[in-house]
């Protein structure tokens, strides 16, 4: 290519080079995210059964959702309960383990990897199937209870009181990624702060609440926002382990949406549900950001 040619000059501009290198992502982002999102927004105003072309029905889907669908509210409540219980529990757990693992010993590396593992495999179908077997009447949980003298055939997944807790425990078990983030944050807390606190006669407990915790709040905030979003979108556990049973007590929002779309062929209604969830999560995130100034310690 001649170095005077227009194309050559164009390609050598810093701006165009940047754009070109970004193109693979930009194209993917538009084709697989923005366009489908736009289409789903349109479908949410349609009666669309997947098999025949969509018919525009205005706000009907949204009206039905809020006024005429009990299952929608049940699934919403189950999801909110799941997210509000499992996320704080998981964060507390992650923080405790991170506090333990922050002190370097010979086996720290191994433990970090071992505790991170559930985060990678925990969302998989295989683990969900395993979980289902563990809590079955003749599963390992009842067998363990048997060894300590509690002989039971209790169906953990068959009771409205315990079924959702098996899913919460599964979610809490996947604390690894939050733990890693806490670990790196813990290491960044300057040592001189602790030394100064010690000089002032602070106990271990005081040090934790007055030094560690305030300095971790930005990390806690980040983890909270990210995990909340994931919590509201939980899907696999509910679909594989409980199928929403018993009596919709574990029917997560995303699973109900999936049922509407693929079992009842109401893709329009499912799209409306997706957008409602998007708005809800957006609102929740906004509220969390608003509360930031009350409890998140800003180092700057």
């Amino acid at each position: 290519m001649h170095s005077d040619s227009k194309l050559y000059k164009f390609l050598n501009k810093e701006k165009s080079a940047g754009v070109i290198f970004c193109l693979p992502f930009i194209i993917g982002f538009i084709a697989f995210l923005i366009v489908p999102m736009g289409i789903s927004l349109y479908y949410s105003f349609c009666d669309y059964d997947i098999l025949s072309p969509p018919k525009f029905v205005g706000l009907d889907n949204y009206i039905k959702m809020f006024t005429g669908d009990e299952v929608f509210w049940r699934s919403f409540k189950a999801t909110v309960y799941f997210a509000l219980v499992s996320v704080p529990l998981r964060l507390v757990f992650a923080l405790i383990v991170a506090m333990i693992l922050v002190k370097p010993t010979k086996l720290t590396g191994f433990y970090r990897a071992a505790y991170y593992l559930p985060s990678i495999i925990g969302g998989s179908v295989a683990v969900a199937v395993l979980w289902k077997r563990m809590f079955a009447p003749d599963g390992v949980v009842n067998a363990l209870l048997g060894t300590i003298g509690i002989d039971t055939n209790f169906a953990w997944l068959g009771s409205t009181k315990t079924a959702i807790w098996t899913l919460i425990i599964l979610a809490v078990w996947q604390f690894g990624s939050s733990m890693l983030i806490f670990l790196s944050a813990l290491k960044q807390i300057p040592k001189d702060l602790y030394e100064a606190a010690e000089v002032d006669g602070a106990t271990k407990v005081t040090k934790f609440f007055k030094v560690t915790l305030p300095l971790l709040t930005p990390t806690i905030f980040f983890n909270l926002v990210m995990q909340m979003i994931n919590g509201f979108l939980a899907f696999t556990q509910s679909l594989i382990i409980t199928q929403g049973k018993p009596m919709d007590s574990t029917l997560f929002y995303a699973v109900y949406m999936y049922q509407q779309s693929f079992n009842y062929n109401s893709a329009g209604y499912a799209s409306a549900m997706a957008w409602t969830m998007l708005l809800f999560i957006g609102l929740l995130t906004l509220i969390l950001f608003k509360t930031k100034k009350f409890w998140v310690y800003d180092q700057e």
């Binding site: 995210l33 979003i229 999936y258 950001f289």
Partner: protein, 442 residues
């Protein structure tokens, strides 16, 4: 200030994108669950194949069908890729494939879905092929061939004929010296059920699937979905739920916490640790599933089959296509697909492998041919259809209308509520009625 606002909006936008993309991800995660089953079958067939056949089913069916397809390749050098799923996954998969006009060439179809797929033009009309003789139906009785007729066309050949039935653990009844006679009345059944629970701890499971609902309403002369709007008032359903409520109160019905009927293998009749968590009988699927139940049952347990007890079994019993083979309208090579269909229905080679796992073969010639080849269990299942159901039955209800899958889910949920004692019979009946109005009412 301004830039801060922009940042915030950006942050929100990113949050939005993240959660929508995760919503997308949940679809794909379930896809991966499904494809894992199809991938395993892809491996067994070589690389690219000429046709694709999809079905739902159990382990026995998957193995036999794959074997029959391998045989087809050997005989005709046409390779067929088999894709198999569980019932629920299957219909999700077909709905999305239909939307993308990429359905498999040959698909297994069900009575409850055929009308919907025909309405949407997803299935190939087989009439021309039947007339030309490409699809040989000369050995299929008129009434069985008619099972595939929708709106004047023929869209499916019954892969097997069967009937709804009550499966029971014959080892348990034999031990107590109880004989389960066919065409038993409901009162006789309850007396036996009470006795079995009292003496062994096993309970009956006729509540979980809504199959019993169909038999009961047929016996009582109540059309469920004929006019799409179920009945005149909710009261007509109340007696049904009263039976269920009483069965829980009297303790002979297995409570839903021990019931997982997603697959034959997890049905509490064959799966469980002790009599208290198991059922001695179940209404789950059609009589051709006897083989699957028998092979899923623990060693030394004999599973048997009888009619579903109602007040009038001749009215409530009916012959049904256990399932159909249909050809998708998307197929690129209808002739090849029809040839494969013909092979599955009329070939002795194929049926010597399939052995009526999908029900008594539609072709009487094939049914006679394989009778001597099948196991004793299958002979019983054949005999049940030909000797018990056929002489004591009434015509089948018309195919289910669109929306039936949603009503079915409601029926299951309502049955669950009754099982947990969370709803009275009246409330349950009202909920089903309301759903019917919502789906089909004016």
């Amino acid at each position: 200030m301004k830039s801060k606002k922009v940042k915030r909006i950006l942050a929100l936008a990113v949050t939005g994108v993240v959660c929508v993309s995760s919503l997308g991800a949940c679809g794909s995660s379930s896809d991966s669950g499904e494809s894992s089953s199809s991938e395993s079958s892809e491996e067994s067939s070589s690389g690219s194949s000429d046709l694709v056949m999809a079905w739902w089913g159990n382990q026995v069916r998957n193995e036999k069908t794959q074997e029959a397809l391998d045989k087809y390749k050997e005989l005709n050098s046409v390779s067929v890729e088999g894709q198999f799923y569980q019932w629920n996954d299957y219909w999700s998969k077909m709905a999305t494939a239909a939307a993308g006009n990429s359905m498999p060439d040959l698909i297994q179809m069900d009575y409850s879905y055929i009308e919907q797929y025909v309405d949407n033009g997803q299935l190939l009309d087989l009439t021309p092929y039947i007339e030309s003789g490409a699809l040989d139906t000369s050995n299929i009785p008129e009434n069985v061939l008619a099972m595939g007729e929708v709106d004047g066309g023929n869209y499916g050949i019954a892969a097997g004929v069967s009937g709804n039935c009550l499966f029971y653990n014959k080892t348990v009844t034999d031990e107590l010296g109880i004989t389960m006679k066919d065409n038993m009345s409901f009162d006789e059944f309850v007396a036996i059920a009470k006795q079995i629970t009292e003496e062994t701890g096993y309970r009956a499971n006729i509540l979980s699937q809504n199959n019993y609902f169909t038999e009961w309403s047929r016996a009582e002369g109540i059309p469920i979905v004929e006019a799409k709007l179920p009945v005149e008032s909710a009261d007509q359903y109340t007696p049904f739920y009263q039976i269920m409520e009483d069965s829980i109160k009297d303790g002979w019905q297995l409570t839903p916490d021990y019931i997982d009927t997603t697959a034959v293998e997890t049905d509490p009749m064959v799966y469980g640790s002790s009599p208290e968590t198991m059922a001695w009988c179940t209404i789950n699927g059609t009589s051709n599933q006897l083989t699957a139940f028998q092979s899923a049952a623990p060693e030394g347990t004999e599973i048997a089959v009888t009619t579903i007890p109602t007040t009038d079994t001749v009215t409530s019993n009916y012959l049904k296509p256990a399932l159909y083979f249909s050809i998708s309208a998307d197929t690129e090579d209808p002739d090849a697909a029809v040839a494969l269909l013909d092979y599955l229905i009329n070939s002795e080679d194929a049926n010597a492998i399939l052995l009526g796992e999908r029900g008594v073969p539609a072709s009487t010639a094939i049914a006679d041919y394989i009778y001597d080849l099948v196991s004793e269990t299958e002979q019983k299942s054949f005999a049940f259809v030909t000797d018990v159901i056929t002489p004591n039955s009434s015509p089948i209800n018309p195919p289910d209308p669109t929306g039936m899958s949603e009503l079915t889910d409601t029926l299951k949920k309502v049955a669950e509520k009754i099982g947990y004692g969370e709803a009275s019979a009246e409330e349950a009946a009202q909920e089903v009625y309301n759903k019917g109005i919502e789906l089909w009412g004016e």
